[in-house]
Symmetry: C2
Subunit: 235 residues, 2 copies
Amino acid sequence: MNLILLLSEDFIASHRVKLHGRRRDHILAVHQPDIGTSLAVGLINGDMGRGTVTAVDGQAIEMTVDFDSPPPPPLPVTLIVALPRPKMLKRILQTIAAMGVKSLYLLNSYRVEKSYWQSPVLDRKSIQENLILGLEQAKDTRLPQVELRKRFKPFVEDELPALIHRSRALVAHPNRGSLCPLRVREPITLAVGPEGGFIQYEVDKLIDCGFEAVHLGRRILRVETAIPALLAKLF
Amino acid sequence: MNLILLLSEDFIASHRVKLHGRRRDHILAVHQPDIGTSLAVGLINGDMGRGTVTAVDGQAIEMTVDFDSPPPPPLPVTLIVALPRPKMLKRILQTIAAMGVKSLYLLNSYRVEKSYWQSPVLDRKSIQENLILGLEQAKDTRLPQVELRKRFKPFVEDELPALIHRSRALVAHPNRGSLCPLRVREPITLAVGPEGGFIQYEVDKLIDCGFEAVHLGRRILRVETAIPALLAKLF
């Protein structure tokens, strides 16, 4: 936690917050604060600044807070990922939030196990918790939007054409198309398949829709490794 | 497992192998093989080729195997990573093996918790298991060399100067130096600190030794995200 992210419900007055639970425990364990200790804070979907500890007790930490600087710029990318297995999804949510992705679609695909859609990791609260962990790590405040799309074909046919408008649309697929481009200058829509990859039909549908296939070389990477590698090359 | 990696002890004749345990279970579950089914195989530290299933029973799978193509080229990098916590270490071993790193030093640093050095993940057998998972994922056969260095200063003073000879030496450190270069042409020695980063003394020692500081922008990434991002930019 390199930034303490504050939610509206943390405020007890206009510039005063009271923190319980995970954030309090973290601050106590890592910063061992005294009255007057200054900590990096950020307002969710707002600016970043400093908090000054005014009270510490067994239950909560109180701070006065001031905000004076904007969060880092987002990556100009819309990411579409075939729903990964729940443990990997948690890490991917943290990673994409840390790297600055602000729009994520979790999509069904032939090789996505049906049971993944029942995972509690997909609850709104759980998604938000993992995104916040990523923002706190990277020192960002803007919460990514996460959308769930349980049907591949209607999404690709009805929704995707408008979504990729004015962006360069790429689908990462091993051994197909060209090497992933470096340092692109335009907004990107990036689709990443499940473990085992999109099936041929799915890749064809994406290419019909206007996607270019790109790859990362001969090595086939896990989705959670491929995503940071692709984002690092593109931006 | 995109490649079934074969060890010398799997061979029951010059071109015949017998597989038990994890690999047998995986082949049965994923490939549902019949006699004659052909599977991608690789010989550890050797060539890749095809295996043809000749027998399947409750205990083992037998194949005849032929090797005809070399593994993908390694990345020209020596990676030095401050020892991460054990769960993250497992994933990092898999990731670096999948991405083609062949030389990894796990190093002590001020912010490495002492208890990490006692983890069973550091047993030779456990290290090799995780590296093999990465090779199987990426379709590679060459096992990375992993060295443990429990003392920072003697390593940096006595061993590192020879190690970085004829390479460009980079230390990844948030907000210091310049942006990580793209598509470098020379061999790289890359040092990555622990969660919380190398301390100032350690960065200074590395820079005295000939390292340049590089960063990935304003966002501070976890080590397991920073490593694939750095490797993706460099190579």
